[in-house]
């Protein structure tokens, strides 16, 4: 940085104008990554700390109190050493002298300025807007005035049938007023809803007692000192004790404009949220980014993160604009809308209409991808459609089921908003960690959480198997309002970096990065040696990219892969020897029995993958147990690894009267080809000898089902957290083809999937089409993938047990205590 202020040792000064959600969120993000970088001063016009503006509607409806929606009280500013000026409005920015001046004369000098002045309600240019009783709906003060008016008056007119207007109308109705909503067009919320959903919404609101005057244009507000009525262009009038003006917002740009900062509709910023003056940043509703302005909270939080990163001098992230979705916060009305919901000649629409259930769903598709969605009545899958839309996922494969929701969601993941809302606080949401609904709600409100990740960190809900993620997201959405920050489309690997998995892999490949420290250094990692999430991922990516050349980093392996056994809850380990295709022998069984007795192994169990598990082995006994098994010819079963687990088989044509092919032999061949290979996640296979499919091949990562004329190859199945049947990849004729396709599929998965991504979610993300193109349709690509797989197997197929159990192994001490104190 060229500024003198950044060089002379004194801390640079950051001044923020505006004390709203987007600005304060930026400060929070900044304090997280660079707590001591700036001396911070904040100016806010309102006399409060920072509160959750999205939740003003529930406050007006009497469902929440002001205290419940405070995000940062004055103590937060004090704790973080921030100077806070409340009730002071900045009236001038002197860019030459780099200082701001407030209406009471307070001045503050800055090295970096952050403008977060938000937006103001639009006021119709008609007579009577100055009358007492004409209110906008913007801040706590407005809400107080509306609640007061409701105590003494009876009739309200709300001008504007958009999101804000309807929420205001609903709140006033809840406060006991008779409310008429005046709207310019024929459809309510026409920026979010199509005609049909708009009509359903109107019907529901009318049933609740709301009246509508639409389409209608307001001509004047009538009254002497106080408002008495509203007159429309058609000459009719409506009586009113108060009039709420909720026709829209406009960015607050005057301050910036007067300081000579380039503004159009909003303050124009670049992808770092910098204005035309690089020392001045702007964020939130006052900003115009790539021609767009935003009035919802989720995009503002995305901006906050990028802006904070840049202020902290980590400039690797860019804000590229946001896709937004809307939910109406009117209790009892479920409505969701995202993207382009009208469509055109190039789009297709799928509509589900069920008047009996009062539901309506419409999806707009273009080129096999979701472009927009309107859901009314049942919004349970809104978050899922939104995710598919943001990710640009090709939905062609499951288009016929798309309308019926997330079919592969496990039982525990099902539930409409209504369902979570109706749940008792003691209802268990996360079965893995025993987290109840009440705990999640308490954490969200008590700790002011907005994201799924934050809820996971605080409650552990949805942090293990993930099957309750949908429910947790619904609770989050219904607790903080619809505008919670959804999981970002491109997630960084972990909190140590802003780079995504794909970006990291590309850097490793293209920049020839060959070790973890080099990757951390090149990509400017925020932590000295990563964390337990990113290090194993990097180790895998390097191993996959540079087979034979990269030296595996043992300390970046999860303990299971470090000691080649599965850690159990008491710190002991389980040991599973490999049994090729599930075939064993008296000799092997005798060796297993011998080690079990010799080392007092408490439990011997048959696994779901047709292997034998020895549970409760002490860590220091592991090498000796392995040596015993090695002696009988058995090697590691990799039941502990992100690797090929087992190939399950049926007895096939060898014994079975229905078997049409040698499934056991095929299973053994596949296991011999692919054992030892490290993968993004665990990988299971099965081979069935006939379509009765006794080996359950259709819930495996790679499943083979024999038919009379050859072999069917199935991919992407999962029998665990979320049951997902495989998709048919293709049919082949010969055993050689089975092996080639199998190796190619594994290699594509190894090279393309993110670390810890099973084949099922990977294929859902990239689409089966990609797999078919690279493995089935393009023979050259298949052969190349298969060859790369075999090449990497040359280095991977070494039995880790034999290596570790060797008396001269360098790792031998790792299994023994350093010292024993008597």
């Amino acid at each position: 940085m060229p500024d003198a202020a950044f060089d002379d040792g004194a801390k640079p000064r950051l001044v923020m104008i505006g004390n709203g959600m987007a600005g304060v969120r930026t400060l929070e993000e900044l304090l997280k990554i660079a707590p001591d970088l700036y001396d911070i001063t904040v100016f806010g016009s309102e006399p409060h700390g920072n509160y959750n503006r999205i939740l003003l509607s529930p406050v007006l409806a009497g469902e929440k109190t002001i205290d419940e929606i405070m995000l940062n009280g004055t103590d937060w500013y004090a704790e973080n050493g921030i100077v806070l000026h409340t009730g002071k409005t900045v009236t001038k920015i002197d860019r030459k002298a780099r200082r701001v001046i407030a209406d009471d004369g307070t001045e503050a000098a800055y090295d970096r300025l952050l403008i977060a002045t938000g937006s103001a309600p639009l006021i119709l240019p008609i007579p009577g807007v100055d009358l007492t009783g004409v209110i906008t709906f913007r801040d706590i003060h407005d809400v107080d005035r509306m609640i007061d008016a409701a105590q003494t008056h009876k009739t309200a007119v709300v001008i504007g049938g958009g999101l804000l207007g309807l929420e205001a109308a609903n709140g006033l109705m809840k406060q006991g007023m008779n409310v008429t909503v005046v709207h310019l067009t024929e459809t309510l919320m026409e920026r979010q809803l199509d005609r049909e959903a708009g009509l359903l919404l109107r019907k529901s609101l009318e049933e609740k007692g709301m009246a509508f005057k639409m389409p209608a244009e307001t001509e004047a507000i009538l009254g002497d000192a106080r408002v008495r009525a509203v007159r429309f262009k058609d000459g009719t009038e409506a009586a009113a004790d108060i009039v709420v003006m909720a026709i829209g917002i406009r960015p607050n740009i005057e301050l910036a404009k007067n300081a000579g900062i380039h503004c159009e509709r909003g303050i124009v910023v670049n992808d770092h949220l910098q204005t035309y003056d690089p020392a001045v940043y702007a964020i939130g509703e006052c900003v115009q980014h790539r021609k767009q302005t935003y009035g919802l909270v989720a995009p503002l939080f995305e901006q906050s993160k990028v802006c904070a990163n840049h202020l902290a001098e980590f400039s690797s992230t860019l804000y590229l604009g946001s896709t937004t979705s809307t939910k109406l916060k009117v209790t009892g009305i479920d409505l969701f809308s995202a993207g382009d919901f009208t469509g055109d000649d190039t789009t297709e629409e799928i509509v589900l209409r069920d008047p009996g259930q009062n539901t309506y769903k419409k999806l707009i598709l273009k080129d096999g991808r979701i472009k927009g969605a309107v859901l009314y009545g049942d919004t349970m899958d809104g978050a899922w459609y939104f995710q598919l839309m943001r990710d640009g996922t090709d939905v062609s494969d499951f288009r016929s089921r798309l309308m019926f929701g997330r079919a592969h969601l496990g039982d525990s993941g099902h539930g409409a908003d209504d369902q979570t809302a109706a749940m008792d606080d003691s209802t268990e949401i996360c079965g893995c960690n025993g987290v109840c609904k009440g705990e999640i709600v308490k954490a969200i409100t008590g700790q002011k959480l907005f994201t799924l990740d934050a809820v996971r960190a605080h409650t552990k809900a949805s942090s293990s198997c993930g099957s309750c993620t949908g429910l947790v997201e619904q609770i989050l959405a219904s607790t903080v309002g619809g505008d919670y920050a959804p999981t970002p489309k491109e997630k960084p690997v972990c909190a140590c970096t802003d780079y995504t998995h794909d970006e990291v892999r590309r850097a490793i490949r293209e920049q020839n990065l060959k070790s973890i420290p080099v990757v951390l250094d090149y990509l400017n990692w925020k932590t000295p040696d990563g964390c337990a999430a990113c290090r194993p991922a990097l180790n895998y990516y390097l191993l996959c990219q540079w087979p034979g050349a990269y030296t595996d980093d043992r300390q970046s392996r999860f303990t299971n892969e470090r000691v080649h056994a599965n850690i159990q809850k008491d710190g002991t380990y389980s040991v599973v020897p490999r049994m090729w295709g599930g075939i064993t022998s008296p000799k092997e069984l005798r060796a297993i029995a011998d080690v079990a007795e010799q080392f007092d192994i408490p439990t011997v169990k048959v696994t779901g993958g047709q292997r034998i598990d020895l549970l409760g082995v002490k860590k220091e006994d592991l090498p000796a147990v392995w040596a015993g098994l090695n002696k009988a010819g058995m090697v590691s079963g990799h039941a502990y690894g992100k690797a090929l687990r087992t190939v399950k088989t049926c007895v096939g044509s060898d014994w079975c009267r229905f078997g049409v092919q040698d499934s056991t032999g095929m299973g053994i061949d596949l296991e011999k080809m692919s054992w030892g290979s490290w993968m993004p996640h665990k990988f299971k296979m099965a081979v069935s000898g006939c379509p009765r499919n006794c080996a359950e091949a259709t819930i495996k990562d790679f499943g083979v089902v024999a038919v009379e004329s050859g072999w069917e190859l199935h991919v992407g199945g999962n029998g665990g957290v979320k049951v997902r049947a495989t998709q048919l990849l293709c049919k082949v004729a010969t055993p050689e083809e089975v092996k080639e396709y199998c190796g190619a599929f594994i290699q594509l998965y190894r090279e393309d999937a993110h670390y810890l991504e099973r084949t099922a979610p990977w294929i859902e993300r990239v689409g089966l089409g990609l797999v078919k193109r690279k493995v089935v349709e393009d023979a050259e690509s298949r052969k190349a993938l298969h060859a790369r797989f075999l090449e990497s197997q040359k280095y991977a197929q070494r039995d880790p047990w034999a290596e570790e159990a060797h008396p001269k192994s360098a790792n031998a001490p790792a299994y023994r205590p350093l010292a024993t104190v008597e």
């Binding site: 552990k460 942090s463 932590t527 337990a532 043992r554 303990t559 008491d570 008597e822």
Partner: protein, 137 residues
């Protein structure tokens, strides 16, 4: 295990438990005691930390976790524990006991309760011990 004479504790109760090189960088080894295991960690900067080998959450063996910076992640449920003071990293709340440990000329010393007489070492020490050095406790 080898028992050598220079493993006896000195007057301050410091026990020799091994050499720095016996612990891998970003790794850990355990010292067995009658009251349970103590995990001894080494980070990238060769700083040494000793903590009870039990996560405050569900008693997972911290010695088997992944070490990063001055932290270790428990292998059972991914709690992150600060090596300097044994505190769980927010939002988790909990604390694991720490023990004074010293590194003097490549030799590790540990002080445990109960003033035990000696420790038997996995690898004998062949390095002579200097009379004074930097302390980290």
């Amino acid at each position: 295990m080898t028992r050598t004479d220079n493993n006896k504790r000195d007057d301050d109760g410091w026990l020799r438990i091994g050499a720095l090189r016996d612990i891998p960088v970003l790794g850990s080894r355990v010292v067995e005691t009658p009251n349970g295991n103590i995990a001894v960690f080494r980070n990238r900067r060769d700083e040494i930390f000793a903590l009870r080998d039990e996560c405050p959450h569900k008693k997972g063996p911290l010695s088997q976790g992944i070490v990063h910076g001055t932290r270790v992640t428990c292998p059972l449920h991914n709690w992150v524990i600060q090596l300097e003071d044994g505190n769980a990293v927010a939002p988790d709340v909990g604390c694991v006991r720490t023990y004074p440990v010293r590194l003097i000329d490549g030799i590790l010393y540990l002080r445990v309760a109960g003033r035990p007489a000696a420790a038997s070492l996995d690898t004998p020490l062949d390095t002579p011990v200097a009379a004074h050095a930097q302390t980290r406790a």
